[in-house]
Symmetry: C2
């Protein structure tokens, strides 16, 4: 129980704890609504309570745990409703990024976006889901950056981070890869034309579809707000 700490790749202790705990939440080892006792966690990872406390703070900021003063922390219970709300926000944010990108991207940015997008067609043909997923993340990040608005970028990346655990299965649906590429293509085309309205709606539709694909796997919320029997991301 004590050698665990050395197995995790380093960084500050707090970082390790953040990773360790968030992993356990995301993989469903810690279930929504479950109480997170500081002393137990400290003992479990063989560190003192101090870094655990700070880790819980950060996780709370990330939305993975909920904290109430003098009453400890619990794994955040994400209701179907809240999840839908996050996807909805994501769609709107991506739409903003796409619109701004259409208006503000430099010639260089546009070139790179288009080139990378065309290159990604290869992954679709090969059915290389892993590689496409990697490219997909990069593609969207490029869009966020292209908006040339630091704060929009922050909001978008934050929301994406919160959604990450619920989005794992999206490319496992048959034909999703090709469809995703087509949707990307619509966005890219609109941006290249500088058509911000079209870029916005294309981006929004794209996320909405991902949302629906993921919704299948979403967990329902129980009346009592109790812990789910099924972990949130056992897709």
């Amino acid at each position: 129980m004590s050698g665990k700490r050395n197995l995790i790749r380093s960084g500050t202790t707090v970082d390790q704890m953040v990773r360790a705990i968030s992993d356990r939440i995301v993989t469903g080892f810690l279930r929504p609504g479950e109480k997170l006792d500081e002393a137990s966690l400290a003992a479990r990872f063989d560190v003192s309570r101090t870094p655990i406390r700070e880790a819980l703070s950060r996780l709370s900021a990330m939305g993975l745990v909920e904290r109430r003063p003098n009453r400890g922390a619990t794994v955040a219970v994400v209701t179907q409703e809240h999840l839908a709300s996050m996807f909805e926000s994501m769609a709107e944010l991506e739409a903003i990024c796409a619109r701004f990108s259409a208006e503000r991207m430099t010639a260089g940015e546009r070139r790179t976006l288009e080139a990378e997008h065309q290159a990604s067609a290869r992954f679709v043909q090969l059915g290389a889901e892993e590689e496409y997923e990697l490219f997909n993340t990069e593609f969207h990040t490029r869009l966020y950056r292209g908006a040339h608005s630091k704060h929009i970028y922050e909001l978008t990346v934050m929301t994406r981070g919160r959604l990450a655990p619920f989005r794992r299965a999206q490319f496992m649906l048959p034909g999703r890869l090709a469809q995703s590429w087509q949707e990307h293509d619509a966005i890219v085309t609109a941006i290249m034309r500088g058509d911000s309205a079209a870029a916005g709606t294309a981006a929004k539709d794209h996320v909405s579809i991902v949302s629906e694909a993921s919704a299948v796997f979403a967990i329902g919320d129980r009346p009592k707000g109790k812990a789910e029997p099924v972990p949130t991301s056992a897709f």
Copy 2:
């Protein structure tokens, strides 16, 4: 130096420290770029370093201070560019809230919104800036809530919080009160009609105007990123 703590209204020590430090940042007593030494702050407020550390974490999450591992915290330097980006985001977020409100508000919510809005006309006639500002905050909050999307609400409230220090002077401009009311009226009318597109653009315009009004007071950033001679909110 030790009686200070009792003067601040209670809550947990960390909350007090968050308020105390953020006040000092917002009032310009602590200047952008200035280093925040944990020990000094602890001594200054006569508490231990522990709550100071947690307070700095929270302030960092709020965007008021920047923290780098093993290198301490500094008062966040908000560039003109970043400030503009935040106002821009705010305009987009408010537009989303207004659009959703137009589509989703219940009959009761619409009634209340309209009634309160009409009642606020009184403050305009009287030139009661304080009361109007109070109402104004409530009005916008109603809009955020009316969107019926928890996550959008969170994003919007967070962004508003970050902008708060830079928005203090908006109603000090002559005629701003009446103009603000007119803009609110356009939003309310559109929402009552259920015209989401009109509500969105009206809300966006409203914030944009506030943005411009506030921009006058915004600080510029120096090439070196050094502390500003003029505090950020000495409006």
